[in-house]
């Protein structure tokens, strides 16, 4: 019996690969298994190799590892691409009509289960695209789960297409289940243990977690130009716009997107944009505007491999430095860096509150790995009351203004002065990209300029008072400290949870300098683990604490860390 199984399906893009992973993961998550899915695909829609990896376990885990227990190959290429991941005991499910694999062509100990996917589909009058359904049925059988686990998910997946489609898919899955069942009676090593006390799990990708957090925090307006890896956020917001009373607008470009969101924020609603590095490059001027006129704004920045178009569908943590320094002029900003879907949900809610408390742009800095992987989230964590703090806003009932309202009041001790919204009587002011006085009128007076800069930057001190300190995981007493941020936490935990002091930054800017110094004190070795080529977190730590992190474990091939490589490279 097994407590953790890693399953992978590979095939051509357009063959339902992604959907297969989701369905298998849901089939188990519904019964209290902890699951995770990772998709890997090139930047195209048809053809090309797609793969989804699903890990299913009886207990929570933090990331995938090198294990591969089942490989479902929907074409010959899938075996060729993943051959080196196969080890003793891996089951290879394949269609012998694609290619009649022989034992000697594969690593030793691989168990071959030929299943004529095509023939089975044809026998049930199905389309060739339904081969993945056969494979899912067979996979469920191999893992020793009841067929109903899968049938339930298929039913929900196709219910909108009618009873006939549901039954057709269930029949085809059943055929796969039965066909595999005949040949795998002896495969007890791959049968998953039962879960004793099932947790109520949800399955969602990082973008959906950001979307959920946003709408629960009262998002009303989003203008997002499509870009990998944040497209699932667009789908989520557009799908729910009507029922939740949200406007999602597709702008003509990212420049329009950020300026629309700024306009909506000025008009009094919670607004956001989302993009990746290239799109954010276009937004940079708008970011500076937000800094100058002090509009609350949430930016979901999903990193992918750069520079330029880079490798659009692969992951990287290369934009930290870019975000810290983006925008001409000096102004306050906040950068939050969630590790997983649960944190993405929590920190998105936090981002909206921070933006309105301090009237600054707040980044939720995510990446492809976080945005497009599907994570197991405990339902109870997403159901609680959401605290909404709209910051300082003038009361509605005022008489008409005869002079401008001091929207940029210099006397505010924390640098944050009350907002008014167009249409509010007595609130007239100007949101002015030029340097301005307290009502927003242009001013190039030396004293006014200095006073305004000082006031705007006072907000940084105020923000520092509510900073989220780095979180410590693993063995806090260990002399080996690992510093990491964002979604790299998972593989690090999976690698060295018991043997190192793991310091994870969910908030990177303004940098928690004092907290970091304290947490790093007494560490004999400090190792920086991050997904970029230059060690941007290490640079930030040096800049703000004077501590030089000399050991760096960096990865920048577009693939997320696997715990084994961290272990090999750290050598504790």
């Amino acid at each position: 019996m097994a407590h953790s199984i890693t399953w992978k399906i590979g095939g051509e893009a357009g063959f339902g690969i992604m959907a297969s992973g989701t369905m298998l993961a849901k089939a188990f998550a519904r019964h209290g298994y902890f699951v995770f899915t990772l998709n890997e695909y090139p930047s195209l829609i048809r053809g090309g190799h797609n793969a989804v990896t699903v890990r299913i376990a009886t207990e929570p885990f933090d990331s995938l590892d090198r294990s591969l227990h089942v490989l479902v190959a929907l074409n010959k290429e899938s075996v060729e691409v993943h051959k080196k991941e196969l080890t003793e005991g891996t089951v290879l499910l394949y269609d012998p009509n694609d290619y009649p694999w022989k034992r000697e062509e594969l690593p030793s100990g691989v168990m071959l289960i030929p299943l004529p996917f095509r023939e089975i589909v044809q026998k049930h009058a199905g389309d060739v695209i339904m081969r993945n359904t056969v494979a899912l049925g067979a996979s469920i059988a191999i893992m020793g789960a009841p067929f109903e686990y899968l049938a339930d998910v298929i039913r929900d997946q196709f219910v909108r297409k009618g009873e006939a489609v549901v039954n057709h898919n269930i029949d085809i899955a059943r055929a796969g289940y039965d066909a595999a069942g005949e040949s795998v009676v002896s495969l007890s090593a791959l049968k998953l243990d039962p879960v004793d006390q099932p947790t109520d799990y949800l399955l969602m990708n990082g973008s959906e977690a950001v979307g959920l957090g946003a709408v629960r925090a009262g998002l009303k307006f989003a203008a997002i130009y499509p870009m990998t890896p944040i497209n699932a956020l667009i789908t989520f917001l557009a799908d729910h716009a009507k029922s939740l009373g949200v406007v999602y607008k597709q702008p003509e470009d990212e420049i329009a997107g950020i300026n629309m969101a700024i306009g909506a924020s000025i008009a009094g609603v919670r607004s956001m944009v989302a993009t990746s590095g290239g799109g954010f490059a276009l937004m940079v001027e708008g970011l500076s505007l937000a800094g100058m006129i002090e509009v609350p704004l949430v930016i979901d920045m999903g990193m992918r491999v750069g520079p330029a178009t880079g490798m659009p569908t692969w992951t990287e943590q290369g934009e930290l430095g870019f975000l810290i320094h983006a925008g001409h002029g000096e102004f306050a900003r906040i950068i939050l860096t969630p590790a997983d879907a649960t944190q993405a949900y929590d920190l998105t809610i936090k981002a909206f509150n921070l933006a309105e408390q301090f009237h600054v742009p707040v980044f939720v800095l995510t990446d492809k790995y976080l945005n497009e992987s599907q994570w197991c989230v405990e339902a109870s964590l997403l159901k609680g009351e959401v605290h909404i703090d709209r910051g300082k806003v003038i009361p509605e009932a005022r008489g008409p203004s005869e002079t401008g309202f001091k929207r940029y009041d210099l006397s505010s001790p924390d640098g944050v002065s009350a907002r008014s919204f167009p249409g509010m009587k007595g609130g007239q002011y100007m949101a002015n990209s030029y340097e301005h006085d307290e009502t927003g009128l242009v001013s190039e007076d030396a004293a006014m300029r200095k006073a305004m800069v000082d006031r705007r930057l006072r907000k940084i001190d105020a923000i520092k008072k509510v900073i989220m300190p780095p979180a410590v995981y693993g063995n806090a007493a260990s002399e080996t400290a690992i510093v990491t941020w964002g979604s790299t936490l998972g593989p690090v935990l999976e690698a060295v949870k018991d043997s190192a002091r793991i310091i994870h930054f969910p908030w990177l800017y303004p940098f928690p300098s004092e907290q970091t110094k304290t947490l790093l004190s007494g560490a004999g070795r400090i190792i920086d683990v991050e997904q970029n080529a230059t060690g941007q977190l290490a640079s930030l730590i040096r800049e703000h604490t004077g501590i030089e992190v000399t050991e760096k474990v960096l990865k920048y091939d577009g693939r997320p860390f696997l715990p084994e490589e961290i272990v090999e490279r750290i050598k504790i």
């Binding site: 949800l202 399955l203 307006f221 949200v246 159901k383």
Partner: protein
């Protein structure tokens, strides 16, 4: 307090060159707002960067003086967030048709209930006299010493073919006529484009008040029907000895806000925050 043109005073005096066409546009705008009953707290004006944009300094209303070229995206975001507040964009020709050309096309196709006043003077005044996208007649400027060689952008035809539902041309030297057109543009439900011919007395010595006056003629509502798109395009292309002024094109069409189901329950800005049925929302993740 009675609303008058003085209600918009800020205490700042204009810094435009004496004789600038911007004066006429500013005064007509104030008159139009008074006529429409829109006071300083009641509307949002979104300005671009350029000589035109400096108007905000002596025009007290809720305003955004944003970034060069980005007037229309800011205006659209504000409109969708609170469609009960009138939104007027004050844009330049370089601002709206050069730096912000893409936004202009897309704003037109969405048809938001926004009025845009294009200060069309064929030059970049604030940067001391380079050619703008609308520069015509081989205009010699600091950036085109041999005269403009590119085909000028025609804001009117561009607006009409892009989907704007109110397209008019006005003259900064005709205060009553311009006031009337601004009132009509703001009243029109949809994207209203008002291309305002505006002499730059400092950097354009060709297109002066004297050059314009004998050439401009008023479209006669008795003989010209602004509902015909093809005729409107034809009119919009007239330039030279005869230049038409007035409403060239107008149609009734659903606005960007009409097409947003979320706005049917009222302005987004006045709606409660958050999600009422969390369980229903989470069900798709099971």
């Amino acid at each position: 307090m009675t609303l008058t043109a003085d209600s918009f005073k800020t205490g700042y005096l204009p810094t435009w060159c004496p004789g600038c066409g911007d004066f006429g546009i500013w005064m007509a705008l104030k008159n139009a707002l008074v006529e429409l009953g829109i006071g300083p707290d009641d509307a949002l004006l979104v300005y671009g960067i350029g000589c035109h944009g400096n108007m905000y300094s002596w025009m007290r209303t809720y305003a955004v003086e944003g970034l060069h070229g980005r007037t229309l995206p800011v205006a659209q975001g504000a409109k969708l967030a609170n469609h009960t507040v009138p939104v007027i964009a004050i844009a330049g020709d370089g601002d709206c048709l050069g730096e912000g050309g893409n936004h202009f096309i897309h704003a037109a196709k969405r048809n938001p209930d926004i009025t845009v006043l294009i200060h069309d003077n064929q030059v970049y005044g604030l940067t001391t006299g380079q050619a703008s996208p609308t520069a015509k007649d081989k205009l010699k400027t600091k950036s085109t010493p041999e005269g403009v060689v590119d085909t000028p952008v025609n804001p009117l035809t561009l607006a009409i073919v892009s989907g704007a539902t109110f397209v008019a041309r006005a003259f900064a030297g005709d205060l009553p006529g311009l006031t009337k057109l601004i009132v009509a543009a703001v009243k029109h439900k949809g994207f209203s484009v008002l291309d305002i011919l505006q002499p730059c007395v400092t950097f354009d010595h060709v297109h002066t008040y004297q050059w314009y006056r004998p050439r401009l003629y008023q479209l006669d509502p008795a003989t010209y029907q602004p509902s015909d798109r093809m005729k409107a395009i034809e009119k919009a292309l007239e330039w030279g000895d005869k230049i038409p002024v007035g409403v060239l094109y107008q149609e009734e069409a659903p606005t960007s806000e009409d097409r947003e189901p979320a706005l049917s329950a009222g302005a987004l800005a006045s709606r409660p925050l958050g999600v009422t049925d969390v369980d229903a929302l989470l069900s798709e993740f099971r």
